[in-house]
Amino acid sequence: MGFIVSILFSFFAVVVVVAVPWIGVGALDLRFLFGIVVPYAAMAIFFIGVVIRVIDWARSPVPFRIPTTGGQQWSFPWIKHNRIDNPKSTWGVILRMFFEVVTFRSLFRNTRLEYRRVEGAPKIDYEWEKWLWLAALLFHYSFFVIFLRHFRFFMEPIPYFVQILDKLDGFLELGILPFINGLGVPTVYITDMLLMLALTYLFVRRLYIHQVRYVSLPADYFPLFLILALGFTGILMRYFIRVDITAVKTLAVGLFKFHPKTPEGIGVIFYIHLFCISTLIAYFPFSKLMHFAGIFLSPTRNLSNNSRIKRHINPWNYPVKVHTYEEYEDEFRELMVEAGLPVEKQPETTAETGEKE
């Protein structure tokens, strides 16, 4: 799959995702389908799918204790132990997992290879490279904050933390464009900008970095484009093509209270936004996006390095055929005796003399 085909395929897939509700609601007025059936179906697929996937992973046992040790082991009191990168106890593992999940600690280690030749001789350097870490962090946190902010649409009254978050996120009080500011257009959320920026970077680096381009699949471009479309429709709705927020909230609250309604007067842009997020969450269980759950099960990260201290049990451990000492001595007994090595059974004298002659 060449990268051009991969990108085109993913791009058109997202175009379809946008076109379906556009036609469905804009032309055919299938508001019940796109406002209620699709979101519920997507949520069902998401929850059931994720649970099935996690159960499926968990069904396979962890036969061996194989943490990747990234620091000094616990040995003597006078040697400083790295309890996060080489955990000995469950607490250490909790810390390691916490930093892995919350700060992307492993990705923070990232470096970039700098390969040169000086007068024919290779010269290798490992350069500072935190951009991937930064973009990944910004993307995930922005998405998370935006998700939380959306609770002001789902809940009545709006929870206090959402109001605070809203304030913080908008604290720059910038207008989307200088001339629009002050004309009733809401101020810009920082996370909106960061999300789009981070996504763009993640896409551009897939194209720009030779090795990453070479390994990228449509499955890598598709979620990027889909989330870009999601963000783009959201931004459009907030700043440019305003929709009836009260009606949207009626629909959203209805969905969450299981009393779904499809009020009149919501622009088609909203249904496109809703269909994008529905597609995204329905796509989750079938895709690499499952890494959000997989990280918690990763045996190189979620196990302590204590297999010399406490026996780790392999549930399918089975007896194997070994070459016993008796078989070994039977083969080499004469030679061993001759070399003065102790043996369990003395050789028969006739055999020994026979050997010697």
């Binding site: 962890v62 620091g71 892995e100 970039r112 297999s307 451990n317 055929k321 030679l335």
Partner: protein, 542 residues
């Protein structure tokens, strides 16, 4: 080395993969100098492994069993059910590329299929085809492909170009461990009798004679006796090791490489001298000819084979009635001991929790496996001032330390060897931080790749390590690299000769032995290698 390109030629590496030709449409091209010879039938048969026959990877026909596709597919399903690691690592990669330029084989070869992500994708593509909905429906669009003979050959070529060093796994945000993928991938190839002979012959030897090199018991003793003579020549002291001795307190197991070839032999002499020194202080230790191998080439074959070879350690400890086991300087031996042994062949309830007979220190980090690493043992001795050392005898050396991958990323043994080295040497310098400790680079020849016919691959894979050595050689005049791995000691001299000829290789206990002042020793004029000690160059000439 005749066939290996010169360093200047080999250094012409392009790390940019082709722009337009996708990897999935680029069939494998097996190059001589990169792969090892195929496993011989007799070596497969000794351990009852399937499809035992002679075969040649260069041939079109690999003499596969008729139903080989079914064997692989079933083998894969079976392992997905048995290893959460494998299942998870097939599913959650996002191809962020953080691992891509971390692999020493990619850095040294530029071959894109040596990027850890792509090495795993070679298997994932087949996994998707038979185990995921997307792969079944969308095929290539979902990054899936059929299992064909070409695919199998590609697997083989690249699975035996990975040293299972786990450097990529350190950088992966989800902890995806290519070593795990390689280990299981190799298990699959072994279902069809597709091992390399450089792995399979040691496995067969180890099974029968107790060690990889096939040294028979009397010869093993002969070789150690030879070291005893050598030690006497250098120090004037005659050491007296014992073998297969029942009732000893401690069983000592080290890789047979240390008994067989320089410079590992000097490390072996180091063990012998240390044990002799401690004898009068209460050390009661024996060697074994049956468990005469610390290393485990079975681990490069399959989990089962690893377990079968590893079983000898506990079996011999039990037979001899020792209290605990001391392990020598070896890399993957310690990955197996630390992360597998007790699970494979434990519980070792017939042994006692290890205690140093000299210092009384309880080795609590080994209380279940009942095994202690010799640098832990020696570091504890030095810490308690039990060793009479003269580090100036190593003053002609400017030393650096190569963290072997397995004790580094499969154990976390960083400070103990450094503490020992710094106690016995006055000149010690670290290589750059991106190349040591948990970020250490592989020697390029681990996991059974230390053959002769794949020398080009080895020189390529060892390039990042060599580059770091060169840096400290030029900056600080480093002329000796210490390590705690027998494969390192076997392969790094060749690597250094190729890239940084001024630097030699040593085990940590060779350095210890040179500094160790034995009771009743004569005035030493040379080190264990027979080279004059600092300040003794004159005496040598007389």
């Amino acid at each position: 080395m005749a066939d290996v390109p010169k360093p200047e030629e080999l250094a012409q590496i392009d790390h940019r993969p082709p722009v337009f030709r996708p990897w999935i449409d680029s069939p494998v091209e097996m190059r001589k100098g990169i792969y090892c010879y195929g496993a011989k039938g007799k070596n497969l048969a000794v351990v009852d492994m399937p499809n035992a026959r002679d075969w040649n990877p260069a041939d079109e026909d690999w003499k596969l069993p008729e139903n080989w596709e079914d064997i692989i597919k079933e083998g894969m399903s079976d392992r997905l059910d048995r290893f959460r690691s494998f299942k998870l690592f097939m599913d959650i990669c996002v191809r962020c590329g953080a691992c891509a330029d971390k692999c020493h084989f990619f850095i040294g070869s530029g071959d894109p299929k040596n990027m850890p992500v792509l090495r795993a994708e070679l298997l994932r593509s087949v996994y998707r085809r038979y185990h995921t909905l997307g792969g079944k429906i969308f095929g290539k669009l979902a990054g899936a492909r059929d299992l064909t003979e070409d695919v199998l050959k590609e697997w083989w070529y690249y699975l035996y170009q990975c040293t299972e060093c786990r450097r990529c796994s350190l950088f992966c945000p989800y902890g995806i461990d290519t070593a795990e993928v390689t280990i299981i991938g190799r298990e699959l190839t072994n279902l069809l009798g597709l091992n390399t002979d450089w792995i399979q012959a040691p496995v067969a030897n180890c099974y029968r004679t107790g060690n990889h090199l096939g040294i028979q018991p009397h010869a093993y003793k002969d070789m150690i006796d030879f070291f005893v003579d050598e030690i006497e020549e250098v120090t004037g002291v005659r050491v007296n090791p014992s073998f297969n001795r029942k009732g000893a307190e401690i069983l000592f197991i080290t890789p047979s490489g240390d008994v067989f070839a320089d410079p590992g032999t000097y490390t072996c002499m180091g063990y012998l001298m240390l044990f002799h020194y401690l004898e009068s202080m209460g050390l009661d230790i024996t060697w074994s000819t049956y468990a005469s191998e610390g290393g485990n080439f079975g681990y490069f074959t399959s989990h089962e084979m690893a377990k079968r070879l590893n079983a000898k350690m506990y079996a011999e400890a039990k037979r001899l009635g020792v209290k605990w086991i001391l392990g020598g300087e070896c890399g993957h031996m310690w990955r197996v001991i630390n992360q597998y042994m007790d699970t494979f062949n434990g519980p070792a309830d017939f042994l006692e929790e290890p205690v140093s007979p000299i210092t009384g220190t309880k080795f609590e980090n080994g209380k279940s496996t009942k095994m202690v690493h010799i640098t832990e043992f020696t570091a504890d001795l030095i810490r308690h001032n039990k060793l009479n050392l003269d580090p100036s005898r190593n003053d002609n050396l400017v030393v650096t330390f190569h963290d072997s991958c397995n004790p580094a990323r499969g154990m976390g043994l960083f400070e103990e060897p450094r503490y020992v080295i710094k106690s016995v040497c006055n000149n010690f310098y670290e290589m750059p931080p991106e190349t040591i400790r948990e970020q250490t680079f592989c020697c390029g020849s681990g996991a059974g790749l230390n053959a002769g016919e794949n020398m080009e691959l080895r020189m390529r894979g060892g390039l990042p390590r060599a580059n770091a050595v060169k840096y400290v050689h030029e900056k600080y005049g480093v002329n000796m690299m210490a390590c705690i791995c027998a494969i390192d000691r076997a392969v790094l001299p060749t690597l250094m000769e190729y890239w940084v000829p001024e630097v030699q290789i040593t085990g940590v206990h060779e350095l210890v032995a040179n500094a160790l002042i034995l009771e009743g020793e004569k005035e030493r004029t040379t080190n264990l290698r027979g080279e004059p000690l600092p300040g003794m160059e004159e005496e040598e000439d007389v």
